[in-house]
């Protein structure tokens, strides 16, 4: 059952990508895309476990859209942060590597979490060991695990927890 769900999700992702990249709805294209997607997803997703934790409920969908908005806002903020740090003559940095904890269990969710952390203001995931993330923070405010977790992780985690569990 789980592998079937994996297969279906993978198939739809590939099929949508095929339509987007060809940019048309001709029957020939749909047929070839269907064949390619089925072949590719049966080769790669026969035993894979990437998409099995994804939740296909309306609430998860709403949270996905909300998450994308939050992410884009954070990305733009982080770029202005970078611009400020680079341009100001005194180079205001106070770097260090801190440890934070995550509650997420699914692999996909953890990947998206670390990617988001890398792209948000002043943080970069250096390593991940079990459920501890080691984060290079360009402006260290606290070295305590709980406070750093609250500062860096939680505003993404509360969305990802609903989507991936």
């Amino acid at each position: 059952m789980k592998s079937f769900k994996n297969f279906i999700v993978q198939f739809f992702i590939l099929f949508i990508i095929w339509i987007l990249i060809n940019n048309s709805f001709d029957t020939e294209l749909l047929i070839t895309g269907f064949v390619f997607s089925i072949v590719a997803s049966s080769i790669f997703c026969f035993k894979c476990d990437v998409f099995s934790d994804i939740k296909l409920t309306p609430k998860a969908l709403i949270y996905t859209i909300l998450y994308i908005f939050v992410f884009i806002i954070e990305l733009i903020k982080s770029n202005f942060d970078v611009a400020y740090r680079v341009v100001s003559p005194s180079l205001p940095i106070n770097p260090g590597i801190v440890a934070v904890k995550t509650k997420l269990k699914s692999k996909m969710g953890r990947m998206i979490l670390t990617n988001s952390i890398t792209l948000t203001p002043g943080t970069l995931t250096v390593d991940i060991i079990e459920d501890t993330l080691y984060i290079h923070w360009i402006d260290v405010k606290t070295v305590k695990i709980e406070e750093a977790t609250k500062d860096i992780v939680s505003h993404f985690e509360k969305y990802l927890e609903v989507i991936y569990g």
Binding site: C45, D127, I128
Partner: protein, 233 residues
């Protein structure tokens, strides 16, 4: 000292030659005989939107067969030499495990890279691209997978079966052109179809798909044999 002088003299002579060439250069305003034939008759004879593909696969199809053979021989030689060298030593290197994020990302991105490779070689007769480029994209997908999972290896048997089957089908399609069309690799075995759609230009999409599979399998074979020798040492 003499050596340096010689180098400088050579550079100056070359510079003089190139300067002369540059002064006499005025880009050709008209196509020569062959090129103008291809440009005038390519679309109606072959039915391919991308004239480069028409030349590579149909007018000069035999050369393409030779290129694919060269690539095959290169892959075979690399595999051969690496295999004989690997036997003597059996020191085990402790490979570092790659991070969990990289593994997950490779699982997500691998199918997408393969799909894009397939897109490039299927659309060879409509847009820039074709078998060689698509095969290279597929092989870089395989390289990405091997970077993420250094302890795993690609199944060589599957690759060699894929490679030889697609090579065989490529030659068989050429012979079919000899029987049903006007010569080796003539593309009018299948109907030419409507100009500018996916199923057009006769057998060009089919031939390019098999070239793409063959090139992808060969390059992945090279990469995975290099990876394997790293692992075995």
């Amino acid at each position: 000292m003499y050596k340096k002088l010689l180098v400088f003299a050579t550079i100056f002579i070359l510079a003089g030659i190139f300067l002369k060439l540059y002064q006499n250069f005025d880009g050709s305003k008209t196509l020569n005989k062959t090129a103008s034939y291809y440009a005038k008759n390519g679309a109606s004879e072959v039915g391919s939107t991308n004239i480069v593909t028409a030349i590579v696969v149909t007018y000069r199809g035999f050369d393409t067969l030779g290129e694919v053979t060269i690539l095959f021989v290169a892959a075979a030689i690399i595999g051969f030499f690496l295999k004989t060298n690997a036997k003597g030593t059996n020191r085990i290197r402790n490979l570092r495990f790659s991070s969990e994020i990289m593994i997950t990302a490779s699982k997500i991105l691998m199918p997408i890279m393969f799909l894009i490779g397939a897109y490039v070689f299927v659309n060879g007769h409509l847009s820039p691209g074709g078998g060689f480029q698509g095969g290279a994209i597929i092989a870089s997908g395989v390289a990405f997978f091997l970077l993420a999972n250094p302890t795993l290896s690609v199944n060589h048997k599957v690759l060699s079966v894929l490679e030889s089957t697609s090579g065989l089908i490529f030659v068989l399609l050429g012979i079919a052109g000899l029987i049903y069309g006007g010569g080796f690799l003539d593309n009018r075995v299948l109907p030419l179809g409507k100009f500018g759609t996916l199923f057009s230009a006769g057998i060009i999409p089919l031939v390019y798909s098999f070239i793409g599979l063959k090139v992808g399998a060969e390059l992945s074979n090279i990469i995975s044999s290099l990876q394997q020798i790293q692992k075995e040492e």
